[in-house]
């Protein structure tokens, strides 16, 4: 199975003499037209510009162009100004996350370099490869992620004016843009969903009980989230905040800690601490070594509920085996080393037990539901209501690439179907026969979307329909999903 994997980053699966260049980030900038309305002051509009090396006048020119496009298109559609601009070489995406603050991302179209007959390389831009919705979503995610760790643009302005805002943007995006990996963005970026860990009622109740007890004994904890195997089980945060925090945890924080775990380096039975119960708990944020009296108790600050209560919180992520808990405490309280030690001594042993309980229960449930044979089809499911997402297409998320087990062309078809679904409100079903003999089926029922890829070359439409019905009956029999 492993050898059939295809990397979605445009591996050389076409003719050998062709050279592939995946889509790439050309530039990324943030501006506010109100900050330099007069001629000669245009530079003041620019709050952030990547790449920074670009000459000042070109920056001003590019920003001005975007401004003009947005202004111009507004006359045709006042409520929905342009979201993207297609050109031969690249595509620009516009987003206005806060009033008058514009974020622009320019992505170069993928390129195929062919050898012409006379041996000269001929560059061919693939203008239709990129999906607007995917990259618009990526741009929105950029803002959400910034906001999670920095709060709103407006708040930065209030706190320290343009200077502070510029500093924050520079500090955040300088690093964040390196992690974008535009070549492996797909349907899942549109959904920005959350994968939930399937669990029986009793184990779930035990986790509830654990969380309530922890929040009681660590009274400064305001919100808690609980994850197992990188999948969410409980969140005290509102959906939209959890969605972006989940993205951060699963694509950035957890993967960074996987390698030491695999190497077994800090499998941390701390026999050296007398009186401490043996447990596997450790901090993923905050102090690395609790025995070090100089250990720094610095936790990332996050901002949630920015639309109303606007809360700043410290994010404490603590993990034992495959179970991770996020404790969020009010940012005005600075957690001390004593607090961290107390948390470790209370949470560590209980979380260790709970983690092995969950693992055991999960294995039992798996055995009951039967050894799951690799089915003939792969699917992606998403529910807009609770952001639940399930994919058997994606293998695993890593900070660098997202591994998919299907051909990028098929992924693009999924994106196209999704765009069709967005256009109408009603339930729909679309069946596509792909060039590569695969069948692709998209279904939309109320708030749910399901995409199925079938590898049945000789099947006809009716048979495909039957297959999908079967899939729904086995995988989604406990929800109201029209077929």
């Amino acid at each position: 199975e492993f050898f059939n994997l295809e990397f979605s980053n445009y591996a050389p699966w076409r003719a050998a003499q062709e050279k592939q260049f995946p889509p790439a980030l050309l530039s990324f900038f943030i501006y506010n037209p109100r900050f330099g309305p007069r001629e000669g002051e245009e530079e003041n509009k620019i709050l952030f510009y990547y790449p920074n090396e670009v000459e000042k006048n070109e920056k001003i020119r590019n920003v001005g162009l975007c401004e003009a496009i947005v202004q111009f298109t507004r006359t045709f559609s006042p409520s929905k100004p342009a979201k993207s601009l297609h050109t031969q070489k690249n595509r620009q995406f516009f987003n206005e996350p806060e009033e008058n603050f514009w974020m622009v991302m320019v992505v170069r179209n993928p390129i195929i370099e062919k050898q012409s007959k006379d041996g000269k390389p001929v560059v061919e831009y693939q203008e239709e490869e990129l999906l607007d919705k995917v990259y618009s979503s990526v741009l929105q995610q950029c803002y959400s992620m910034y906001k999670l760790f920095n709060g709103t643009f407006l708040r930065a302005m209030e706190d320290g004016g343009v200077k502070l805002l510029k500093e924050r943007l520079e500090k955040f995006f300088h690093r964040y843009l390196q992690t974008l990996h535009l070549q492996s963005c797909d349907l899942l970026d549109i959904f920005g969903g959350i994968s939930f860990f399937p669990l029986d009622k009793m184990t779930y109740l035990k986790i509830q009980s654990f969380i309530n007890r922890m929040e009681e004994s660590l009274s400064i904890v305001k919100y808690t989230a609980f994850l197992y195997n990188d999948q969410l089980i409980w969140s005290g945060l509102e959906q939209d905040d959890m969605r972006i925090l989940y993205k951060y945890l699963t694509t950035s924080l957890f993967p960074r800690h996987i390698e030491p775990e695999l190497a077994g380096r800090d499998s941390p039975i701390r026999a050296e601490m007398p009186g401490n119960l043996q447990h596997y708990g450790r901090f993923l944020t905050g102090p690395l070594n609790l025995n070090d009296p100089e250990a720094k108790c610095r936790f990332p600050k996050i901002f949630v509920n920015t639309d109303d209560t606007y809360e700043a919180l410290h994010l404490i992520v603590y993990k034992a085996m495959s179970a991770a808990v996020c404790f969020m405490i009010d940012a005005s309280i600075q957690p001390t080393l004593d607090f961290c030690r107390r948390l470790d001594s209370i949470v560590g042993p209980q979380l260790t037990v709970l983690a092995s309980d969950i693992c055991e229960q999960f294995n039992i449930n798996k055995r009951i539901s039967g050894s799951e044979k690799e089915p003939q089809f792969k699917f992606i499911y998403f529910n807009h209501m609770n952001l639940a997402e399930k994919s058997t297409v994606h293998m695993r998320k890593t900070p660098s690439v997202s591994l998919t087990s299907v051909h990028p062309d098929l992924m693009k078809i999924l994106g196209d179907i999704n765009s069709d679904f967005t256009r109408v409100d009603e339930d729909e079903e679309i069946i596509v026969k792909a060039m590569s003999d695969y069948w692709v089926v998209g279904k939309k029922s109320d708030q749910r979307e399901l995409y199925v890829i079938l590898n049945q070359k000789n099947a006809n439409l009716i048979e495909v329909n039957e297959e999908v019905k079967k899939l729904c009956a086995t995988q989604f029999n406990n929800i109201f999903f029209l077929d």
Partner: protein
């Protein structure tokens, strides 16, 4: 000491009798729990009073000498009076039978009668210094028939009416006890056993006094209680009570040791399965519960007093109105199961345990629950403990609350299981099964969901001052506990959770609970969710999912979809489950018309025409009263658009 601090009290209405004095002798019969006041040997009257019957029996009898012992048989049928050391006199108290006395002499020659015990309404045992004699009394013949006898040297004896067991002290030291068990005309000898004396006796005189032995039924089992006094040679800090378990079959076994941690004179009572030990010097009492966890040393379990020592609540003698401290264990009063007698004052009380004060004396809530669950009158106290631990001022921590819930539900589950196996056995036909099945008794310790809901949870959730986080944590903890014991959660608890969540707009919490099926599916719950849609739109999807899972709510699903104008979806759903032949076309056409979408109306109309054709051989809606819709169809699409009947 405040009134609320005493956990032992005497009953409100004691039995009053004439106090003992030179002309009035007082006797107590533990079998019938009656006090006899015998004036002048009976010549000037005998008054018999029991704790339950408020009508005393009084009669006269001839003064034939000093009365040594006087007792009624069970049901007050025959009176037995011992006046000499060789004989016992009888007189019948059966209506219309001769009241003339008749006499029985003990059979063993040269033996002295130590006493006698009634084991039924007509069976009596004489205990002599040389053995026991078991008789049947024949009142109409006015004589006795010897059923069985046994020769054995007896120092003293003791009778436990609850267990129908007589204990004889034998051997020179007196510490070998021989029990006999009586039932329906038979006498069986149980294995004898030896009481370990505190120190090796120096002399060969009687070393075990009957004052230090008691018998009582505790948790349905018969125990011999031995008060082992503090001995200077042993290391023990004070006296202790040793409990020997005396089973119907098998040997007697030393099981429990109650550590008194004091020395001096003691008296024992057993009340509500608790061993109460009174200490004379300090006029205080302690209680022990052998079901509470003690220290097990491999063979016996050591117990410490459940609570700190307290006096019995001072009582008021009704007539005199003076408050006095009851003195127990003094001269002339012997230990009885739950009775305290003062012959000199002329009172007989039942000793009672007050549960409410104990709530504050036992800070460990888990242990408190263990203790309360074993008591007879516990339910209201338990519920008040639950309410108390949830109030803001007196709030317990969640782990403690969880422990309490678990203990309650364990007891609740035990009862449910017993009830279920009883029902199953009844259905299977109990005639074939061997032992007679008894319906399980629902004791007060069974605190079910409705008790908790009514007395604790619904009140608690309405308190404004309680933070909602805590309210939800408590409700979830209770639901967790019920689930852990595999008890089906009643829907009113789920509704309480939902109401609380909705009240505080915690919709995402609600959503997650439903996602993990913590709140079990039911039609009422699905309807409740539907009603929440205007506050929380996703409730619609949650409700539909729930209806789908119920699989008995297909009509409801169709109604929900139609009300949302999702006519096509409703039709596809009903078609998917194969119910489209039986549905009302009118309902769907109505809904389709309301959407003002003509193409939709056309589709629905056409669908039913085709269905009608298939079912009735004709596309018309004739029996279904859809004239209005047919007219509308014609108006929009014209007459010729109607489907023509196909004829074959």
């Amino acid at each position: 000491m405040g009134e609320e601090d005493y956990y032992l009290e005497l009953c409100e209405r004691p039995v009053h009798f004439e106090k003992a004095n030179p002309v009035n002798c007082v006797f107590f019969d533990e079998a019938n729990k009656q006090v006899f006041a015998v004036r002048s040997g009976g010549a000037t009257g005998v008054v018999v009073k029991g704790p339950d019957d408020r009508n005393p029996i009084s009669f006269r009898m001839e003064d034939k000498g000093e009365v040594k012992c006087i007792k009624f048989s069970l049901e007050n049928k025959i009176l037995a009076v011992q006046r000499t050391s060789k004989t016992v006199d009888f007189s019948n108290f059966i209506p219309d039978s001769s009241q003339l006395e008749y006499t029985q002499e003990c059979k063993t020659k040269n033996a002295n009668i130590l006493g006698f015990c009634w084991t039924s309404s007509t069976e009596i045992v004489f205990i002599t210094d040389q053995g026991i004699e078991f008789y049947q009394v024949l009142p109409e013949k006015r004589n006795l028939k010897l059923l069985k006898s046994q020769n054995i040297n007896v120092n003293w004896y003791m009778y436990c009416p609850e267990g129908s067991v007589i204990l004889l002290s034998t051997t020179v030291l007196g510490n070998v006890l021989q029990p006999f068990y009586f039932r329906a005309g038979t006498m069986s000898k149980l294995p004898k056993f030896e009481i370990e004396l505190p120190a090796a006796p120096k002399s060969t005189k009687l070393s075990l006094s009957e004052r230090d032995i008691a018998m009582a039924t505790i948790y349905g089992q018969l125990y011999v209680l031995f008060l082992r006094h503090h001995s200077r040679t042993s290391n023990s800090a004070g006296a202790e009570v040793v409990l020997y378990h005396l089973p119907r079959e098998g040997a007697c076994k030393k099981m429990h040791i109650l550590k008194l941690n004091r020395t001096g004179k003691f008296a024992l009572n057993v009340v509500d399965n608790l061993v109460v030990v009174h200490h004379q010097d300090t006029e205080t009492s302690v209680i022990f519960d052998i079901r509470l966890r003690g220290e097990f040393d491999g063979s016996v379990t050591l117990h410490h007093p459940v609570l700190p020592a307290r006096s019995i609540q001072p009582y008021q003698i009704p007539a005199a109105g003076t408050r006095e401290w009851p003195c127990v264990g003094g001269r002339g009063s012997r230990s009885r199961p739950d009775i305290i007698i003062s012959a000199s004052q002329g009172y007989l009380w039942n000793l009672q345990v007050k549960l409410q004060p104990i709530v504050n004396l036992l800070p460990d809530k888990g242990r408190l629950m263990d203790f309360l669950l074993q008591r007879k009158e516990c339910k209201m106290v338990i519920l008040s403990v639950c309410s108390q631990m949830l109030t803001e001022s007196d709030r317990a921590t969640l782990p403690v609350i969880a422990t309490v819930f678990d203990k309650l539900n364990q007891e609740y589950k035990k009862y449910l299981d017993a009830e279920q196996s009883y029902t199953m056995a009844m259905e299977a036909g109990q005639s074939r099964s061997g032992p007679l099945l008894r319906r399980p008794v629902r004791t007060q310790a069974v605190v079910d969901q409705s008790d908790m809901y009514t007395h604790v949870l619904s009140v608690f959730t309405e308190k404004k001052e309680t933070p909602h986080k805590f309210v939800i944590a408590v409700l979830m903890e209770y639901i967790r506990s019920l689930n852990q014991f595999q008890i089906t959660v009643q829907h009113y608890l789920h509704e309480l959770v939902i109401r609380t969540l909705v009240q505080h707009s915690l919709f995402s919490t609600l959503h997650q609970f439903l996602q993990y099926h913590v709140l079990s599916d039911s039609k009422p719950l699905a309807c409740l969710l539907l009603s929440l849609e205007s506050f929380y739109p996703p409730a619609h999807q949650l409700s539909l999912d729930m209806l789908k899972r119920l699989s008995t709510a297909n009509d409801e699903i169709v109604e929900v979809l139609l009300s949302k104008h999702q006519v096509l979806a409703a039709l596809r759903f009903i078609q998917g489950i194969g119910g489209h032949d039986n549905i009302s076309a009118r309902k769907f056409l109505d809904a389709a018309k309301q959407t003002e979408d003509h193409m939709l109306f056309y589709t629905i109309f056409r669908f039913f025409e085709q269905r009608n054709q298939r079912l009735r051989g004709n596309p018309s809606f004739t029996p279904e009263h859809c004239e209005e819709h047919v007219a509308f169809f014609k108006q929009v699409f014209g007459d010729q658009a109607l489907m023509r009947p196909t004829t074959f």
